[in-house]
């Protein structure tokens, strides 16, 4: 009889403790497959990458951010928040000094050492890994759940889906698929190949990414670029002005390239394309205008 009592009582007790624990702590699995236990209502958040800062602000939870990375410059409010180093060179001491109850990291950008050390110091780190637009929407959803902004996240995702639909509808009307070459940075010539965000954006915007191949970020020589004969040439860079003009003049020496002949070399703000955040749709819309200007002329 006693044993039977025990069998009944023990699970009840365990359940009781679990629910007790869950009332202010919860366990979740992040996108890197790690199990993270974090507070129900995180109030001191450190974002370890600019795109995460943007996502958190888009979810209207910017006031919870106590620390962001050096290049978190959007929205303007983010500039005023305490900086904890750049996302590849985080300052552990600064992060710890903020006493955060949650850090949000990017899996392939933040050094794993830092994440491990933060964990060992008892600071929960949730890693996200948005690799595509779907992945980005999933990330926004998950971050929304973490910060108790689920409704806001759903509206945001719904709007993003609508914008993507609109673009797909528009691009379907295009008659051609221009060959696009995307140059990241200035020297060496690096492009974005298969399985990258940029490849997905180019395809959605109705272009053909001619850098698609085996490697994710292939390197090109000038000769190879010329032989690929791109119709549209897009350069993303953090540097603007003079540098771009020089670069454009450089490529301008080869009028055999269709993009040069038709004056379709463009410089775009890398922040719109390199950061998987809701702003990437602004980038996508801009890209459609650059690749298919004719679609917009018909409209007006």
């Amino acid at each position: 009889m006693k044993k039977r009592c025990l069998i009944l009582v023990v699970p009840v007790l365990i359940c009781f403790f679990i629910t007790q624990a869950q009332s202010n702590e919860r366990c979740v699995t992040d996108q890197a497959g790690r199990i993270v236990s974090l507070p129900d209502k995180p109030e001191r958040i450190v974002s370890l990458a600019p795109n995460i800062t943007e996502i958190i602000f888009a979810l209207a939870r910017g006031h919870l951010l106590k620390g962001v990375t050096t290049f978190s410059d959007f929205p303007v409010e983010a500039k005023k928040i305490y900086k904890v180093g750049s996302y590849v060179k985080l300052d552990l001491e600064r992060i710890v000094s903020l006493n955060p109850d949650l850090c949000i990291a990017v899996k392939d950008g933040n050094p794993k050492d830092v994440v491990d050390r933060l964990e060992s110091l008892g600071i929960p780190v949730y890693a996200v890994d948005p690799k595509s637009l779907d992945g980005l929407m999933q990330t926004i959803f998950e971050v929304g759940e973490l910060l108790n902004a689920g409704d806001r996240a759903e509206t945001l995702i719904h709007n993003m889906r609508l914008r993507i639909q609109r673009i797909k509808f528009l691009v379907a009307k295009a008659e051609s698929t221009p060959r696009v070459f995307w140059q990241i940075g200035i020297s060496p010539i690096i492009s974005a190949g298969s399985n990258t965000f940029i490849n997905e954006l180019i395809t959605l915007a109705g272009g053909k990414n001619i850098a698609c191949g085996t490697s994710r970020y292939p390197r090109f020589s000038r000769e190879q670029v010329l032989s690929l004969a791109p119709d549209v040439f897009i350069i993303t860079s953090m540097e603007k002005g003079v540098v771009f003009d020089e670069l454009k003049a450089d490529w301008g020496l080869w009028p055999e390239m269709p993009a040069v002949r038709n004056n379709r070399i463009f410089l775009v703000d890398s922040n719109l394309f390199d950061r998987p955040s809701p702003r990437i749709l602004d980038g996508l819309e801009l890209l459609v205008e650059l690749i298919h200007p004719e679609l917009f002329k018909e409209k007006h």
Binding site: T70, K89, L92, E93, R94, V96, R117, R216
Partner: protein, 336 residues
């Protein structure tokens, strides 16, 4: 090692105590300064082990700064001792693990380890050690036989091996595209920031026996410096001593390289500086290099952390920027 005269013993102890005092002062400075400001009172409370209301300060002082200061001390000690030993064996003031390519070899091993996704310990440590042993064997084969003891052959082969290693490092770096590139580049410039106390403990366990072995051989180093014939008449097996010293030093250097990357110049500046101040007896220079090298690295790391407004500069940059002018100044002065 033989300590026959009590005079030498007394000198070793005096100089070591003096440098130990410097090391402790520098360590205190290293723990008390950083990117977050901590009041002196709070700091003292934390250092004296009093319970504080704010555990965050305790974490910063004990779990972030303290391991880092210890690591810097260990690494500085190892590198300057490595330089001292190489300069003695090769009887060449320019010798240093970095210049001879031992650091480069272990860096190649470590990069291969990082690229294949191994953990820092034991994975990357082992590949780094394998790399340094490989370069060491390459060096010994290139200058095999009698010419091992001819200082110029070994140094020249070392310079070439180092050039070859740098080329391979550059090759590996240029073939890397993804996020690991940042890791490798920061690590190559010398980075002390990412070690917790356990890793520092492991490193200390690997290094301390090496320090003791080298101290035991310090008298042999004195004799080797007097020349081959002299050493042979004194009953020293030059080949064996050289081999032991080279292997122990390479082991030490590769252990630090895999934790902190390439830090040049320490092995050149500190032994020369100490030799100018304390004379050329290795029984004194070995402990002095350990304590002095440690202090120097802690100071450099402190500068690397405190000087820039945002973030930090790699400590390897500071060691060279402070070390090179200091070295030139000392050289000029000693000539006069």
């Amino acid at each position: 090692m033989s300590i026959r005269s009590p005079f030498i013993l007394r000198r070793i102890i005096t100089i070591s105590l003096l440098l130990l005092f410097v090391l402790i002062v520098v360590m205190l400075a290293g723990v008390s300064m950083g990117s977050t400001k901590i009041g002196l009172k709070m700091l003292l409370q934390s250092l004296l082990g009093e319970k504080m209301a704010d555990t965050m300060l305790d974490t910063i002082v004990w779990q972030i700064r303290f391991p880092r200061v210890l690591l810097a001390g260990l690494v500085g000690a190892t590198l300057s001792l490595g330089g001292l030993v190489f300069q003695a064996i090769l009887r060449n003031p320019l010798a240093e693990p970095y210049i001879l390519g031992i650091s480069g070899g272990s860096a190649i091993g470590a990069i291969i380890g990082i690229l294949s996704g191994l953990s820092r310990f034991p994975g990357v440590s082992l590949t780094a050690f394998a790399g340094s042993l490989a370069t060491l064997f390459l060096l010994l084969i290139m200058s095999s036989g009698k010419s091992l003891l001819k200082k110029n052959t070994l140094l020249l082969s070392g310079v070439m091996v180092n050039a070859f290693c740098s080329a391979i490092i550059m090759f590996l770096v240029s073939m890397t595209y993804d996020a690991r590139l940042h890791n490798i580049i920061f690590w190559l410039m010398g980075d002390l920031s990412m070690c917790d106390i356990n890793q520092v403990g492991i490193l200390a366990l690997m290094l301390l026996p090496c320090f003791i072995i080298l101290f035991c051989y310090s008298h042999s180093m004195n004799i080797i410096l007097m020349g081959n014939e002299m050493a042979q008449t004194m009953g020293i097996n030059i080949r064996r001593v050289t081999a032991v010293l080279l292997i122990v030093t390479s082991f030490m250097v590769s252990a630090t390289v895999c934790y902190c990357g390439l830090l040049g110049f320490v092995g050149l500046v500190i032994p020369h500086l100490l030799r100018l101040v304390f004379g050329s007896d290795h029984r004194i220079l070995v402990p002095a290099s350990i304590l002095g090298g440690g202090s120097y690295m802690i100071i450099c790391d402190l500068l690397a952390r405190v000087l820039p407004q945002q973030g930090e500069v790699p400590v390897g940059v500071v060691t060279a920027m402070v070390g090179a002018p200091l070295f030139i100044y000392l050289l000029k002065r000693s000539k006069q």
